[in-house]
């Protein structure tokens, strides 16, 4: 049985041997408070619709939206767009469209 955890990447911030990062900076970057101190490790996921990488946080507190269309995690802006339009448009489709516009049929 597949799990959404199989889709996760990994982020490591290691400040054990140097100066920390102020909380206002890490929060502005979308990271949780305290991520800039000591060793911070977290799961990440790549939005299937736009490929933005989202950091879940130490306690996985970052809410993630699961798209039933593509069976992947998507970021908040893409979830809002999906809610508004009802359309699941993955980044693979964007790529296919970009390549189709680039390659003429003769080249296939």
């Amino acid at each position: 049985m597949k799990s959404v955890r199989e889709l996760e990447g990994y982020l490591m911030l290691d400040h054990r041997h140097g100066a920390p990062v102020p909380d206002e900076v890490v929060v502005h970057a979308g990271l949780p408070v305290g991520a800039g101190r000591g060793l911070f490790e977290s799961a990440t996921y790549t939005c299937k619709h736009c490929q933005r990488v989202i950091v879940l946080g130490m306690n996985r507190e970052k809410p993630a939206t699961f798209c039933r269309g593509c069976q992947h995690m998507i970021c908040d802006p893409c979830a809002a767009e999906k809610h508004r339009t009802g359309v699941c448009r993955t980044f693979d489709q964007v790529i296919e469209e970009a390549l189709a516009a680039t390659i003429s049929p003769k080249e296939f």
Binding site: G9, M12, L13, H15, A19, H28, T46, Q51, V53, V94
Partner: protein, 168 residues
């Protein structure tokens, strides 16, 4: 599976640069552009290690797509196949941190990964799950190039980096 490469840059002190502004040569960690209009690259890992000698240097580093892609001769950094026995593809990706003609500009909307860290002794590493890698497609804006650079704010310090990617 395609050929995997490491694009590395050593001992650069990035300059904090706003979105949609020219990234000045050697003041950012690099760009990664498709070597042809149909080349696809998958980004598997981004690593940065701080080398600031003595003062706190919180650096707001961003991996983002570029709304203006570089043109002209590329320079800076090193591009090496990870597997020594790999046969290089006929066309290689375009990488570097200098651009002879048009300088790259970071998109104001297509930020992929924020990696704020302190270059005074800090390390940051992000690894994608295989199959979940952000990709670069072609060699034109905005899908055809990503850059790793410092966003405005913070106090950047000297650092080195590598980006592991695969030519699909």
């Amino acid at each position: 599976m395609g050929v995997r490469y490491s694009f590395s840059v050593t001992s650069v002190t990035p300059t904090a640069t706003a979105d949609t502004t020219n990234l000045v040569d050697s003041t950012y960690l690099g760009y990664l552009q498709g070597g042809s209009s149909t080349m696809r690259l998958n980004i598997a890992e981004v690593y940065m290690g701080g080398e600031a000698a003595s003062t706190s240097s919180p650096s707001i580093m961003v991996l983002a797509r570029d709304s203006t892609v570089m043109t002209g001769t590329a320079g800076g950094g090193r591009n090496a196949a990870l597997d020594g026995s790999s046969t290089a593809p006929g066309t290689l990706a375009t990488v570097g941190n200098t651009a002879a003609t048009t300088k790259p500009q970071r998109s104001s909307t297509l930020h992929l990964l924020h990696l704020s860290y302190n270059a005074y002794g800090g390390i940051v590493r992000w690894v994608a799950r295989p199959g979940e890698e952000p990709s670069v497609v072609g060699n034109s804006a905005s899908l055809g190039e990503v850059s790793l650079s410092a966003f405005t704010g913070g106090t950047t310090g000297q650092m080195s980096s590598h980006i592991l990617y695969e030519v699909v």
